[in-house]
């Protein structure tokens, strides 16, 4: 199946300056393609730069260096005015359904805001009609129109957030940990909804999560990040059945299984502490914690290369 590239990131770097000429290297020289109609998951631990990368892809965060192309057109250098047409194609769903809805606006106001900003509907009535349509698409009803965010449960709020994100019929949605703040029983409702919408509207997701079992369910491809760098990218099936990068293996092994029969006597435990993104280690950034690290890992930075149907950045699969 030949897929078209929807979004391309080339050499993306994001740094946040700190006092005293130091800086946080949140994302370092990352290149990533997102295909049309796919769900690409971005997994990694907190502080690995996955959220920053996600926000940079839709220019909510300006990159320090690098280029992003949308359907082949570079969008990084565009003026805010020229970017407007692209902006509406790219939306985001946030992690915290409590913080992502303005407490002083009704659901109608929140969902209608994108429609009004781009003057999508001709009249107020048409806008309201469209808002109801959107609410129904995410499993809410017209009864919810004039309620405020605090009158909803976490799951319902996240539905409102999703309705806002799909209001402009975007091509691309960044889902930034959309279910991690929710209770287990509600998580699945939202995940099913997201998957359903993706199929129904042909959406493309960049799905950011730290929960690998959630990713397993929703993603076609998965991309593992460690300390601002990509470690491994490949089809979910391939990566989960045979993880190649040592970090991916640790990550998958660390998940506690909800089955006491699968308890392990010996666990693969990661040694040491996460290095600071202010002072990332030279060479492979994972080498300080990697049991297979060699001299080469300490000095030479590994590049992504094709290994067994996916890309891995590790010297083990070198020559």
């Amino acid at each position: 199946m030949e897929q078209k590239k929807l979004l391309e990131a080339r050499g993306l770097t994001v740094e946040f300056p700190l006092a005293g000429h130091k800086k946080v290297h949140a994302v370092s020289d990352v290149s990533l393609d997102v295909m049309e109609h796919e769900v690409l998951a971005l997994v990694g631990e907190s502080g690995c730069g996955k959220s920053t990368l996600g926000k940079t892809m839709i220019r909510l965060q300006e990159p320090t260096a690098g280029e992003i192309c949308f359907r082949g057109t570079p969008i990084t250098g565009l003026s805010p005015k020229a970017f407007r047409d692209y902006r509406r194609q790219m939306q985001i769903v946030f992690q915290d359904p409590y913080a992502s809805l303005n407490p002083r606006m009704t659901v109608r106001g929140i969902v209608a805001e994108p429609l009004e900003t781009y003057h999508v509907c001709e009249s107020k009535e048409a806008t309201t009609e469209r808002v109801v349509e959107l609410l129904e698409a995410v499993g809410l009803t017209a009864d919810h129109l004039y309620r405020y965010a605090h009158q909803f449960s976490g799951g319902q709020r996240q539905r409102v957030g999703i309705a806002r994100a799909i209001a402009l019929n975007p091509a691309f949605i960044v889902c930034d940990e959309p279910v991690s703040a929710l209770d287990v029983s509600v998580q699945n409702q939202i995940l099913n909804l997201l998957k359903d919408l993706q199929g129904r509207f042909g959406l493309t997701y960049l799905f950011i999560s730290h929960d690998l079992s959630v990713v397993r369910f929703i993603a076609n491809r998965v991309c593992v990040m460690f300390l601002g760098k990509l470690c491994e990218i490949g089809d979910t099936e391939t990566v989960y059945s045979k993880p190649l990068h040592p970090y991916t293996r640790f990550l998958l092994d660390a998940i506690p299984k909800a089955d006491p029969h699968q308890r392990r006597k010996e666990r693969l435990l990661l040694a040491g502490e996460l290095p600071s993104p202010v002072n990332p280690p030279a060479g492979c950034r994972f080498h300080t914690r990697c049991p297979y690290a060699t001299e080469k890992c300490r000095t030479v930075e590994p590049q992504l290369q094709e290994v067994e149907g996916r890309k891995v950045a590790c010297h083990i699969y070198g020559e």
Binding site: S153, V184, N188, S213, A258, P260
Partner: protein, 324 residues
């Protein structure tokens, strides 16, 4: 020699608000056998944290224990004076919280915070106490203990902070450790380290552990017994393997099925319809009935009793009781 470390019977605890009493823990009974790890599982607001705080007698205002008994190796904790209780805390029972970020005092060196516990419960000099702390730091896997001793909490990572908390909790070799979502705020790889550490400490020191979690995986990994809570009540309790192999309560079954699989890609995830009920407005009868696919007429009328359906396996459900 007693076989149980902790025996909780008919514990009820409530919040007293302007809108009246909200029963957060409702008739909860369980035992913690010696050297065992028991798990309490449930979603937010099910009363699991409140149960933990009740045992420590550290419920936040306006909450209060209403009735019931909590006995630690024969000592009735609810009858102790505040002073006697503070001698029990840290010495015989200790508590680890969810957020290692906020549960350490930001303006005090972590070493001193741990040393404080030793000085409080042991007749030792400051120097001896410090040596004890350094030994404990080593035991919980804190590298460079001398250097970490002088650190402030903000200088440590989340994982290290949780290790400091564990060192603080275990340094007096308490009979019981209550861990309230100890790994929820941590990354999976750190979580695995911390769980491993807790298991080793149990084996080494012989402390019984109550592990409170919303994550079935964590519980399956570590616990000998599991108690499932829903809306303030225990709805099912059994030995871990039994519970995971033969869950009886529809809520437990729902939770188990809702777990996304790591082995294969599912097309649709199983869900439990509806949301967690509001404790201030619980439905008549079984609290889970409105979300239960199998509920019948009786479920809406009276609250089912917690009954033993198999030896050691208790369920609070009308259907499971009939269907044995």
């Amino acid at each position: 020699m007693e076989k149980t470390t902790l025996n909780v019977e008919h514990l009820c605890a409530s919040f007293f608000t302007d809108h009246g009493e909200i029963r957060a823990v409702n008739d909860v009974s369980f035992q913690v056998p010696k050297r065992s790890i028991i798990g309490i599982v449930g979603e937010s607001g099910c009363g699991k944290s409140m149960t933990a705080r009740s045992i420590m007698r550290l419920i936040k205002y306006p909450g209060k224990i209403v009735s019931g008994s909590i006995s630690l190796v024969g000592k009735e904790l609810t009858a102790l004076s505040e002073t006697e209780m503070s001698n029990v805390r840290g010495e015989e029972i200790s508590l680890i919280f969810q957020e290692p970020m906020t549960s350490l005092n930001p303006v005090m060196k972590v070493g001193k915070q741990v040393r404080e516990v030793v000085l409080l419960h042991r007749r030792v000099t400051k120097k001896e106490a410090k040596a004890e702390v350094l030994r404990m730091f080593e035991k919980v896997g804190i590298s460079e203990p001398e250097k970490r001793y002088e650190c402030y909490p903000h200088e440590l990572s989340g994982g290290l902070r949780q290790r400091v908390m564990i060192a603080m909790a275990m340094i007096c070799r308490p009979k019981l450790l209550i861990a309230d979502e100890p790994t929820t705020a941590l990354d999976v790889t750190v979580e695995a380290q911390i769980l491993e550490l807790m298991k080793n400490l149990r084996d080494e020191i012989g402390t019984s552990i109550i592990l409170i979690s919303h994550n079935l995986g964590v519980v399956a990994e570590l616990c000998d017994y599991v108690h499932v809570m829903y809306a303030g009540r225990i709805v099912e309790q059994a030995e871990t393997f039994e519970l995971f192999d033969h869950p009886r309560h529809p809520y437990t079954v729902g939770l188990m099925n809702a777990r996304a699989s790591l082995e294969q890609q599912q097309t649709v995830l199983d869900t439990i319809p509806g949301t967690v009920p509001n404790l201030a407005a619980l439905p008549e009868g079984c609290s889970f009935a409105p979300r239960c696919a199998q509920c019948g007429g009786r479920c809406h009328e009276c609250v089912p009793e917690l009954t033993e359906v198999l030896p050691g396996h208790f369920v609070r459900c009308h259907l499971a009781q009939q269907g044995v």
